[in-house]
Every structure is written in C-alpha cells, then in structure tokens.
C-alpha cells in the first residue's frame, strides 16, 4: 500500500515529462495529459496527509522513501500548487497563442521541477534530499529564459549560479555531519537516513554539529531566499513565466526551508535548540527587514510579489525558532503562502497577457479591464498582506504570539512593525493596479475560462482555513511540528 502511494505521488510528473519529451508533434496533447495526471499526484499526497493527520504511521518504502507528517504537508503543497500551475500553464489556453516548442519545453521542465521537489520531501536520505534540491535549480533555471530576453537570461544565470554555489555549501554541511556520524562508528550505508542520524544525534560532537548547521543554513537558506543571499530571488521570480514563478515562489522556497527544519531537528537533539534557534531568529528577522523595506519602492508587480515572498520566508524562518507553537505557526504560514502566492503569480500572468507590461504604472485600471481577475488578484494580495479572513492573518498572529511567549519582546515589536509596513506597501501598490485609467489600446472584458474559475478555489481555501482551521489540517500541522520539535 505504501509503495502504491509513493508511486502515485512521484510517477505522474515523471510520466508527464517523458510524454512531453517524446511527443514532439502534439505538445498540446501532452499538456492536456498533464492536466489529467497531475491531480493524481495531489490525490496521493492528500491520502498520505489524511492518514498522518489521523495519527497513522509514516509512509515508508524500504530505506529509500519515508513520509511523516512534515513530508506529507510539503508533498501536499507541492502537488496542489503544481496542479494549479499545470492547469494555467501554456498549451491549455483556447487561443493557442503559445508556440508549440515553448509549450513542449515548459511541460518537460515544469514536470521535472515538480518531480524533483516531491523527491526532496519524500526521500528518507538527507544526501538524496540535497541532490534533489540541487536538481530543482537546474530544472527551473532552464525555464526562466524561455523567451530568451536579456533580462530573463541574466536573471536565470544569477539564479543558477548563486543557487548552485549556495547549495554546494549545504552539501559541505551535509558532509560535515556525515563525517561526524562516521566517527561514532555507526553503519555508514544508512548514515544519511534522517531517522538513523537523529537516533545517533546524541553522540555527535557539539562543535562539529554547530559548524555543519551553519553551512546547512547558509546553503539551504540561499535557496529559501533568506537574507543576505536572497539577491537572486526578485530577478528570478519576476522574469520566470507565471506558472513557474508560482511553483518557485509558492513551494520551492518552502521545500528549501523544509530542508533546514529537517536538519534542525537532528542538530537540536545533538546540542539543544538554543544554537539553531538563535541563528534562525537572526536570519529570519534580517530577511523580514529586507523583504518589507524593499516592497514599497518596487515599480513592477511581479517584483512586489517576489519581495513579499522574501518577507514571508523570513516570517516562517522566524517562526521555526520559536518552539513547537512557533513551528506550528510557521508551517501554517508556509501553507497559506503557498496557496496565496502561487495564485497571485498565476493571476499576474493573466494581467501581463492583457497589458503586455510588468510595470505597475502601466497595468492600472484592472477592475475595468479584467474584473474577475482583478477581484481574485485583490483577494490574494489581501491574503499576502495578512488581512483576515485569510489564513496568513491567523499564522502571523500565531507567530507573533509565539515570539511574545518565548520572551522576545523587542523582536516581537519589530516584527509587528515590519508586518504593518509590508501591509501598507502591498495595499498601496494594489490600489494603483486596481483603479485608475487603463491605456486606450487595452481591450476590456474577461476572457471566460475554466482556469480562472479554478483559481477561485485556493482563495476560498485560504478563507476557509483562516476562519475555521479545519481539524485534519490542524492535526497534520501539529504532528509536523512534533517532527521538528519533539
């Protein structure tokens, strides 16, 4: 049964990529095939998540795959966002504007990208997790410059290079921890298995464990867009095609933070949580500062969304450092961010298609030109600004509360101010986009389409989670938080 679940989770994107690769003539057919298979992945992830939410045993296949509550949460987020991105990706629009070759490339790499993220959260081996996260860089970097503009190529290069160097440092950290484990005389074949390493953690050497964690945090932190190595993110996320931005911003950042949390759980057993908590607090707050402070001065709407991602990753990182309630809040925050940010990016793609411009000043009067898109876009931006009833409001309250209870009064105040600053900036930008005059050459009216209706779903979900925090999700998050902070 477990093997079936893991295959159902990982195979659909792989098959989708293979099909797009082989069927050169009919990329549209491959895209439609994708639209049918990707939900299979999401269904498998949902089945796994429900089982773990009910307190079931982790899904384990041999020594290779292991999904506990934390993995299940991430697998669910990745597969749901990938499904949304598949449905709004090129090839499914009726007008058939996108060239066939571009559809094909997109389908190949977007599927491989989704697959590498799913492998990263499902593997039980921390070395394989690293390999998979490194592979996300390669699969996504190729897709950013699909239209081969200078800005996109530059962004892609910066992303690929900074990402590769950063992630190499995470490997150095992985190797350091492995070397440390090897000195304890354990079984080396299974040494990088998370459970093995965590069982052996009490006998790790404190100073080596600290050194390893610093490398791991810098490395995976680079991929998660944490300061000070976040510089690639605004370029990459704003230049990528919308469906890819949705996956990169919505879930790839969360997957990188997942890697940090996995390692934190081990290092904490070895040396107590004070060391990792302090580092995460400092890095988290610095990241929130960078994200919030840069928001207001942006002139392009996709860059606004990108800097908002930095701010939210900072908040999640901050939450990870605040004990189990903080981890719970951080994971809820990642969940809300995954839904809201991916939807916002997908909508930004529709806005770009209409205005042919990424500038906030040009893309104004959205309510008049594309009313349905405008309303949904406003809802996602409100969600990202932390307004009720959306779930990010709840998670921000919980993070602030956890910080207060952990005794960080000054930091709590600072973070609150930064959240308000981000809120004000987002709303300022939003009202400029929503109202005002659209250019004369911009046509009016919403192209009726199924995909747009689909995007109302995550918005409704965000409100539902924000108002009720459904029991299965609460249980899943509780169990996931217990994985990080037992």
């Amino acid at each position: 049964m477990d093997a079936v679940l893991v295959v159902a989770l990982l195979a659909p994107p792989l098959v989708g990529a293979a099909l797009a690769l082989l069927v050169r003539r009919a990329p549209q057919a491959a895209a439609w095939f994708n639209a049918v298979t990707m939900p299979v992945s999401a269904a498998a992830a949902a089945a796994i998540a429900l089982r773990l939410a009910a307190g079931g045993a982790p899904v384990i296949v041999g020594n290779a795959w292991r999904l506990d509550a934390l993995s299940a949460l991430l697998a669910l987020l990745v597969s749901v966002v990938a499904t949304l991105a598949v449905w709004l990706g090129p090839g499914l629009d009726r007008r058939g504007e996108t060239p066939g070759a571009e559809i094909r490339l997109h389908r190949i790499y977007a599927n491989l990208f989704a697959c590498t993220m799913l492998v990263a959260v499902s593997t039980s081996n921390l070395g394989v997790m690293w390999v998979a996260i490194e592979a996300t860089t390669v699969t996504s970097a190729l897709l950013i410059p699909v239209r081969r503009t200078k800005a996109a190529l530059d962004a892609s290069w910066k992303y690929l290079f900074i990402g590769s160097v950063g992630i190499a440092l995470a490997f150095a950290g992985t190797v350091l921890a492995f070397v440390d484990y090897a000195t304890t005389g354990g079984d080396l074949e299974l040494a990088l298995n998370w459970t093995t390493l965590r069982t052996a953690a009490p006998s790790l050497h404190p100073e080596v464990a600290q050194l390893a964690f610093v490398f791991l945090l810098v490395g995976f932190g680079t991929k998660a867009g944490l300061a000070p190595t976040h510089t690639w993110l605004p370029d990459a996320h704003s230049e990528a095609p919308a469906p890819l931005s949705a996956m990169m911003s919505g879930v790839l950042l969360a997957v990188a933070l997942y890697a940090v949390a996995r390692w934190k759980a081990i290092i904490d057993v070895a040396i107590g949580s004070a060391f990792t908590d302090t580092l995460l607090l400092v890095v988290g707050v610095a990241t929130i500062v960078v994200g919030s402070a840069s928001l207001l001065s942006q002139t392009q709407y996709k860059r606004v969304l990108a800097y908002s991602s930095i701010e939210h990753m900072g908040l999640a990182c901050f939450g990870l450092a605040l004990g189990r309630p903080g981890v719970f809040a951080a994971l809820l925050h990642l969940t809300g961010h995954a839904l809201a940010k991916s939807t916002a990016f997908l909508l930004s793609g529709r806005i770009y298609d209409r205005y042919r411009s990424g500038e906030i000043g040009t893309a104004s009067g959205l309510l008049g030109t594309v009313p349905a898109t405008a309303v949904l876009f406003a809802a996602t931006v409100f969600a990202l600004a932390g307004l009720p009833p959306f779930s990010l409001f709840l998670s921000e309250i919980l993070i602030v509360q956890a910080a207060w209870r952990a005794g960080h009064a000054a930091l709590t105040a600072l973070v609150l101010v930064l959240i308000l600053l981000a809120f004000a900036s987002l709303v300022t930008h939003l009202q400029r986009v929503l109202f005002g005059e659209a250019g004369r050459d911009v046509s009016r009216g919403e192209p009726a389409s199924v995909p747009l209706a689909l995007l109302a779903l995550p918005v409704a979900l965000l409100a539902w989670i924000g108002v009720t925090l459904p029991e299965p999700l609460r249980m899943l998050l509780t169990h996931a938080a217990e994985v990080v902070r037992p």
Partner: protein, 207 residues
C-alpha cells in the same frame, strides 16, 4: 602503512589547494581550466589512494568517475565555452593579485582554526588533510565572489565542489555511493546548463 597513507593523501590535498591558488595569479582563462583539470586529477588520485589503503573498493569507481567527468568532460566543456568567445583573456578581477593571495592565506589560517574540532574527532589516518579541504572550500568561495569573468566563476564553483568531495574522502572515506552518483549527475547537468546560458550573457558578477 598509516604514515604512507597520511603522506600520500596530504600530498594530493596540498596539490589541490595550490592549484586553486593558480586562479589568483594567472589571468588567462585557459590556465584556469588547466588548473581545474589538474586539481580534479589530484582529487582522483586521493580517491584512489583512499580506495587502496583505506580498503574501500567502490572508491576506485568514484575515482574513475572523477577522472572522466571532472578531469576530462567538464574541462572540455569549459574550453569549448572559452573558444566561442576568444580575445577577452585579460582579467580585471575585483581584487588584485597581491590582495587575493593575502586573503587566501588568511582563509587558510581561518580554515585551520575552524576545522580544529573536526580534526580532533576524526581518527582516520587521513585526518591531517581536513584543514586543507576546508581551506580549499573557502578559497574557492573567494574565487567565486572576487572574479568577474563568468568562466572564472564557474571554475571557482567547480573547485568548491572538489573541496567538498575532498572533505568527504578524507573525513569519512566518501559519502554513500548513491549520493556520490547523484552529485556527479548534478555537477554535469549544472555545467551543461551553465554553458547553455553563458552565450546570452555578458560579464556579470555573481553578487
């Protein structure tokens, strides 16, 4: 036996660090590629020594892969990249030669300091080279941030990978094979993607 083992691996590791320093004072891109190729050969040598004297036969396979991939295929890709854009051989790095060498020296000292707890807990005969591996990692990182030419940055990144591989070899006789193979695949794909992107971009610094 252990003394020979230690001496051979130390020699290989030291050669690797020296070859990283070549990037600091040579200003020709082909010299960088050659330095990387020789460094990879030295890494393969260390791998083979550990396979033989440490009695880990699977490391012979890893050493052969290092030789083939990093000693032959990747340098060829790099040379191809340079051949497509000849003429721009002179470099104006962000940090000049004297300062670069000075900083590298400082980084090597720092590496000794940082790696002290690590060297203290590892009991393998190869542990003497651990500070060198860490120094190589730091110096490579410095190459990445201080050079302007894209190819020089890529060479720095690849040397960083070599440094980590050296750390794994000396500290624990290599990581599990499945991870090792994954790393090789990622390096190859990464370099291929980099060479696909480079023609479209001019000199941009990684910062």
């Amino acid at each position: 036996m252990d003394a020979t083992f230690s001496r051979l691996t130390m020699t290989g590791a030291s050669a690797m660090l020296l070859l990283a320093l070549v990037v600091m004072w040579r200003h020709h891109v082909p010299a960088y590629v050659t330095a990387f190729r020789m460094q990879s050969v030295a890494l393969a040598f260390v791998g083979a020594v550990v396979a033989w004297l440490g009695d880990v036969p699977e490391l012979f396979l890893v050493a052969a892969l290092i030789l083939g991939l990093k000693g032959w295929i990747v340098p060829r890709i790099l040379a191809g990249m340079e051949a497509r854009r000849p003429g721009e051989r002179e470099l104006h790095p962000l940090v000049n030669t004297e300062m670069s060498l000075l900083i590298s020296g400082g980084l090597a000292v720092a590496a000794y300091e940082i790696s002290r707890p690590l060297a203290a807990v590892v009991s393998l005969p190869t542990r003497g080279g651990l500070p060198i591996a860490l120094a190589l990692i730091l110096v490579s990182l410095f190459i990445v941030v201080s050079r302007r030419r894209v190819i020089a940055q890529i060479v720095g990144f690849l040397m960083l990978e070599n440094g980590i591989a050296l750390l794994a070899l000396l500290g624990a006789y290599g990581v599990p094979l499945v991870v090792e193979l994954g790393v090789f695949l990622d390096v190859l794909l990464g370099v291929l993607v980099m060479q696909a992107l480079v023609p479209g971009i001019e000199e941009i610094s990684a910062g």
